[in-house]
């Protein structure tokens, strides 16, 4: 057989080109306009389906624009988004969270939408908290789609059987009720303790409730005197109480409980109390073990001075600096964070809503949502604070603090020792070291 190298090489090259063309490439022009690449971070199948539906509505309203949604698995999503942003291509609209906005902006990966949002009526429809997030320091790197705020899920029946008239109001009350409910022999425990991934968030919530009178509301890891909240002697009291709550009223294996286990602990009837975001409402409603009349939600437990800090975590949509379709991308962000789309997204995701009009919506006034409304109506008791979740070292901090909470509850370290380390860590980081 005679080979024809030139022809062969040409054929191989053509094949290689054809093969590479099969893969997903950066956003290309749709036949009749623009195609936007949008990537989400807190992926779950239900939410992805909802997003696709909302995107469909957007495409109907804007015939010239097509949107391609990328949904990486949650546990790798932020890393994937980082890599996409680093490459400067392939993403127009992205999910930005309070914990990622810092690194994304410091690397100049996301676009400041402030000039585009000027005069947009959607801004007037946002609640004060949402507006604060959308206009941080005069910049608009994201428009939030909702808030994740903590409240207390509790078992009405167990609380009554233990001789209590209602849900606990303070951390001290809760420790007392949880101890009464605790009965390991029946595989029943008082409190769904979070000792695994995310443990530090709940530990900080307790500390914040104890130091609330001196807390800096704009940077809730600082006191008004400029020191960290971990330097306060009250923080030692808070963690001492918290360790006691673990030892006397929580399942032993909750040392390693993350989000799914603590929720499962409550929905399976194993635990009496759970501190969680409103998205859990839908999960508890689906429980086959506990009926609707057996549980309810209550406002956050308060500290010794009768107040609590509500660190509203938030997430939203932003536009990549590398996008070559910024006007269309901003259009999509505006669409998703206003009107029916924003309200639908809040309801179906069980998020604290971003629109003022939600206050008049019966959906947010009834049942489990009532505690959130109650907290909103008492802003001097349940004080909304901003935690420094957007700092570049937030993941490093979470990993460090999570493992140290485990050391604390397994008796490998004492509260004062852990707090001293946390105080030094934040003091150093803020000093730029």
């Amino acid at each position: 057989m005679r080979y024809q190298p030139v022809k062969l090489l040409a054929a191989l090259s053509a094949m290689a080109v054809a093969l590479t063309a099969c893969g997903p490439g950066p956003a290309e022009k749709a036949a009749d306009g623009t195609t936007l690449q949008m990537v989400e971070s807190l992926t779950n199948p239900t939410r992805t389906a909802l997003l696709k539906k909302l995107i469909g509505d957007f495409e109907t309203a804007n015939p010239g624009i097509k949107v391609q949604l990328i949904s990486p698995p949650t546990n790798q999503a932020d890393q994937k988004i980082q890599q996409m942003l680093q490459s400067g291509k392939g993403v127009d609209v992205l999910e930005v969270r309070d914990s990622t906005v810092g690194p994304f902006t410091s690397n100049k990966w996301i676009y400041d939408m402030a000039p585009d949002l000027k005069g947009w009526e959607g801004l007037d429809a946002l609640t004060a908290n949402a507006l604060k997030v959308a206009q941080q320091g005069g910049k608009s790197y994201m428009v939030p789609y909702g808030f994740y705020g903590l409240s207390l899920f509790y078992r009405k029946d167990l609380s009554q059987q233990a001789g209590f008239a209602g849900p606990p109001k303070s951390w001290t009350d809760m420790a007392e009720q949880a101890k009464k409910i605790n009965d390991p022999g029946k595989n029943r425990y008082g409190y769904s303790f979070r000792g695994g991934k995310g443990a530090s968030g709940n530990a900080v919530a307790v500390i914040s409730a104890y130091v609330i009178d001196e807390i800096n509301r704009d940077n809730a890891f600082k006191l008004t005197n400029g020191k960290t909240i971990f330097s306060s002697p009250k923080a030692v009291d808070a963690l001492t109480m918290y360790v006691d709550l673990f030892k006397t009223a929580s399942p032993p294996s909750s040392v390693s409980w993350g989000y799914p286990e603590m929720v499962q602990g409550f929905t399976s009837g194993t635990t009496g109390f759970l501190l969680q975001d409103p998205e859990v409402i839908a999960t508890v409603k689906e429980s086959k073990t506990i009926k609707e009349d057996q549980w309810g939600t209550a406002p956050l437990p308060v500290g010794p001075t009768g107040k609590a800090a509500q660190p509203l975590a938030n997430a939203g949509w932003g536009v990549a600096e590398g996008s070559t379709h910024k006007p269309e991308a901003v259009k999509l962000v505006k669409f998703l964070t206003s009107g029916d789309a924003a309200m639908t997204f809040s309801k179906e995701n069980s998020l604290v809503p971003i629109l003022k009009s939600a206050a008049d919506d019966p959906y947010f006034k009834d049942g489990p949502w009532a505690s959130y409304v109650a907290m909103n109506e008492s802003p001097e008791t349940y004080i909304v604070v901003t935690q420094p979740r957007g700092v570049a070292w937030s993941t490093e901090w979470e990993n460090k603090a999570d493992s140290e909470v485990q050391k604390l509850i397994t008796g490998k370290a004492q509260p004062a020792e852990i707090l001293k380390g946390w105080d030094e860590y934040w003091t150093k980081k803020w000093a730029g070291n």
Binding site: Y3, P5, L8, L9, L12, M15, A16, Q79, Q82, Q86, G102, P103, S106, N107, P184, N187, Y189, G195, G196, K197, P251, P252, S253, S254, V255, S256, G258, E261, Q264, G265, S268, T270, A392, W393, T395, E396, N399, D402, S403, E404, Q406, K407, T410, K412
Partner: protein, 311 residues
């Protein structure tokens, strides 16, 4: 003939034929270069840079700083010890159970094909998913492991498997043993099927018992496969943090972190420089291990005395 043979016996890809062969190999070379060597080189140079994804304003060369940081990191040193426990603790039971399974599956019995398929099933599942499954199974309050142990009265109170440092490593190793037994079973079974039946017949005629047959016929016949399978498994177990990640996330209090799971955590924190340094160390250690291991297991040739020519 596609290639010409030189006097030394080596094949030279010359002339038009060689060019054609090269053209055939070119796409593969390009892909391997692009997707293997380019990232590898990127990783190597990151290990010597201040490369932190959270702040890319200064990515200057820092020499051996990342390595020094690691050697001074108490947690890293702990993960090295954990890695050794993880590899040895997983490998030995995997090998013994896998070998036993292979011997059992070699015999002819009804539904052997179905059994083989069931035994090999875990190999098709992702390690991360296995980790999550076992995380729920080992849950202290509503896990099936404690439930079974309580019902069979082997324990009186639930064991907090993943919450207690004493048990957490055992739990992840148990999961890994279950996951990896299959690989040994597959490889050893394939090797066993290549051992001629005549050898067994001969050993039976000579009156050798089962144990003698195992050590005199079976093991020597599949020695190379056993050795290479063990080497591969050591490398894979050392490099497979996904099960630990799914099951304990390295907890409680970092007690189950191995070097590679810690490396992933550092990567997530954005410190690619330190993570790359860890990666380089892992590659170096495994290469040294592989070289020594292969030297230790290579067949020793018996030197025969030369025939002395008749004077």
């Amino acid at each position: 003939m596609a290639a010409t043979k030189s006097v030394s016996g080596r094949k030279h890809f010359t002339g038009r034929t060689g060019l054609v062969l090269f053209a055939f190999m070119l796409p593969a070379l390009v892909f391997v270069g692009l997707f293997t060597f380019y990232p590898l080189l990127q990783g190597v140079q990151m290990a010597f840079r201040n490369y932190n994804l959270n702040d890319l304003s200064d990515t200057s060369w820092v020499g051996l700083k990342n390595f020094q940081t690691l050697l001074g990191d108490e947690m890293f040193r702990g993960t090295v010890w954990n890695s050794i426990v993880w590899v040895v603790g997983s490998l030995v039971p995997q090998f013994l159970i896998g070998f036993t399974m292979a011997l059992w599956l070699r015999r002819k019995f009804r539904f052997r094909g179905t059994y083989q398929a069931l035994v090999f099933f875990p190999w098709a599942v992702s390690g991360f998913l296995i980790g999550i499954l076992f995380r729920w199974m080992f849950n202290g309050e509503f896990g099936v492991v404690n439930d079974l142990l309580m019902k069979t009265h082997l324990i009186d109170t639930p064991v907090p498997w993943l919450a207690d440092a004493r048990y957490a490593m055992i739990a992840v190793i148990v999961a890994n043993v279950w996951y990896g037994v299959t690989f040994f079973a597959i490889m050893i079974l394939a090797a066993l099927q290549s051992v001629p039946d005549e050898l067994y017949e001969a050993s039976a005629i000579d009156g050798a018992g089962k144990v003698r047959t195992l050590f005199s016929i079976t093991i020597p016949s599949i020695r190379t496969t056993l050795a290479l399978t063990v080497l591969l498994r050591v490398i894979w177990i050392f490099n497979s943090p996904e099960l630990i990640f799914g099951m304990t996330g390295g907890g409680p209090a970092n007690e189950t972190h191995i070097v590679t799971s810690y490396m992933i955590q550092v990567t997530q924190e954005g410190d690619y420089g330190r993570a790359s340094a860890m990666g380089l160390m892992v590659v170096f250690v495994l290469m040294v291990f592989a070289v020594f291991y292969l030297m230790a297991i290579r067949p020793r040739e018996v030197k025969r005395p030369r025939k002395v020519a008749a004077a």
